[in-house]
Amino acid sequence: MTAPAPASGPVPTAPSISPRARNAPTPNLTPDHLAASRAGTSPRRRTLVYGITAALLVVGVIVSAGAGQLPIGPAEVVGSLLRAVGIPNAWAPTEPLIEQTLWQIRFPRVVMSLLVGALLAVAGAVMQAVFANPLAEPGVVGVSSGAAVGAALAITLGLTMFGGWTTAAFAFVGGLAATLVVYATARANGRTEAVTLILTGIAVNAFTGAALALLMFAGDTASREQIVFWQLGSMNGSRWPEVATVAVVGAIAAGITIGLARQFDLLALGDRTAAHLGVRVERLRVFAIVLVALLTGVAVAFVGIIAFVGLVVPHVMRMLLGPANRALLIASLLGGGAVLVYADLLARTVIPSADLPIGILTSLVGGPFFYWLLRRNRRKAGGWG
């Protein structure tokens, strides 16, 4: 974004800014003018971004559901979906094998990708708002790996105290613990410096890496394999009950975060000013951290570590829509879903007859992006911090 020279600076000699424009009387701003200059109130642009993202998501779902060893055409996929919601149509597949493939293998997997992507992107956006720092992301600062340690603990020790929810519950607790550590370490004087945040992430990731290694060392072959799966991340073998769990927990947590969006906006002004505007900052922040742990934990519990979605998606949406959190969270929800649906499609098809762990893909793209963001952030801030 190139901004014109500040009005209080020296008169520039560059011809690009005409002296007349500089001396022009202050425009008489009407409320309508004002509305147009605010990030949170450009409905046309917002609708456009929502619309395009949602369209990409729908196309992705249809293509992804059709792709695989048994190719299924888009018409058949749409037909089957329409029939499922009670609309009889001529496109719907007649072969039971296609119907079975779609509903028992493809759809759970596609929906799981969609949900996990949406939740991770929202978790990233919330974390960035809470830390008032665009580099905060569950994977980068170690929340995801904290959740993986929790899950690995449950697997290795064979814990079943909460039945089918045990692994998810432990993932949540692990993620929460990691988030609290990051929060306690990286914040100083009401601010989170980028460099402190990244260093804290390194420390947390080092520790969780060791803990995961230890659990693998201690565990048997089966649990070892399962832990490797956490670390790489994969949508393989997603089933409806798991999808339902992620959907329910995710919908509640995402709904709450969107409700808190306005308060997140105020955090950008700094803690004290946010408090002066009536935000109960500490309470909001702790609450948001629990939400981030919940969103990340539930996603990680079933598909493993998928890094950088929470970094890349909110960042792109912020460039398109501005930093106002309500629109940002909704767009991230849609965009995150779309990104992971396509990533999963790629993971399944890029190498013939092999299922590439999706975490590898997102990190391959996300790593360089993170690097670029770091560089840009440093240049803009004139140094680290």
Partner: protein, 264 residues
């Protein structure tokens, strides 16, 4: 509105064993501009922190509108007082207009929210930032940031306004503008508390000046009574000359610089 906004009685504030404020007794009235002045580290910002509710006094009592400050909810306070801090960092590229609009946050869901757009436009015109509305806040100069933040405080439209060194980053004209705004706010019946370093500025615009030094209230009263050569020299540790402004008769404080500066 008339009467007392804040009443401080024997307020002390300590961090560890260090006494930051000691036995401050002070009334802050509606309809008046009170300037807090004093040397660096005297406790001005801490006193402001006690008034905003950010810092809890270790001893003594603070009431706002006759009710102990601790009993006010965050929301109630946000609708009663607006605060401009010294540092006004904004994370993410919110536009200047976005930042000003955030000042309306305490009024969301009230009848007064209907006036949001007009209040935002008025506040921006008043702080001379209407032309900056679409600019990204982080791209503004220090002085522009300070004025946009002032517009945010004005948009909050509260009956008490507190400004911590609002003129620090501003040029001559905008310094005068800000204090004229402070005067206007007081004329509308609001209580205005402003921390200032420039004693002449304080003398020119404040109804009352409070000198804080070493955490204590050293003097409180009308500028001409409080800002005497002896007292200022004593408090700041440097000799000054106090003249009367030929136009207004209010005190103008000049440091005594002794022999002419060496040429170079």
């Amino acid at each position: 509105m008339t009467g007392t906004a804040f009443a401080l009685r024997g307020v002390g504030y300590r961090i560890g064993t260090a006494a930051i404020l000691d036995d401050v007794t002070l009334d802050i009235a509606y309809g008046r501009v009170l300037a807090l002045v004093g040397p660096n580290g005297a406790g001005k910002s801490s006193l402001l922190g006690v008034l905003t509710g950010d810092a809890r006094p270790s001893t003594g009592a603070v009431t706002l509108d006759g009710r102990p400050l601790g009993q006010w909810s965050a929301r109630e306070l946000a609708r009663t007082r607006a605060v401009l801090l010294q540092a006004n960092h904004v994370a993410f590229s919110f536009t200047a207009a976005d930042v000003v609009e955030m000042g309306r946050a305490p009024w969301i869901g009230t009848d007064l929210a209907d006036a949001d757009e007009q209040l935002i436009a008025d506040a921006m015109a008043r702080a001379d930032v209407a032309h900056l509305g679409r600019r990204a806040y982080p791209s503004l100069s220090g002085g522009e940031k300070a004025r946009v933040s002032l517009a945010r405080v004005l948009a909050q439209d509260t009956r008490i306004v507190m400004l911590d060194e609002p003129t620090a980053a501003l040029d001559l004209r905008h310094q005068e503008d800000v204090l004229r705004i402070a005067r206007d706010l007081a004329a509308e019946g609001r209580a205005v508390v402003v921390v200032l370093h420039d004693l002449s500025l304080a003398a020119a615009y404040a109804d009352a000046v409070a000198i804080i030094a070493g955490g204590r209230l050293v003097a409180l009263g009308e500028p001409a009574d409080v800002l005497t050569e002896e007292r200022i020299a004593d408090v700041y540790g440097t000799p000054v000359r106090v003249l009367a402004d030929p136009d207004t008769g209010r005190p103008v404080v000049l440091p005594r610089r002794g022999s002419p500066l060496p040429r170079g």
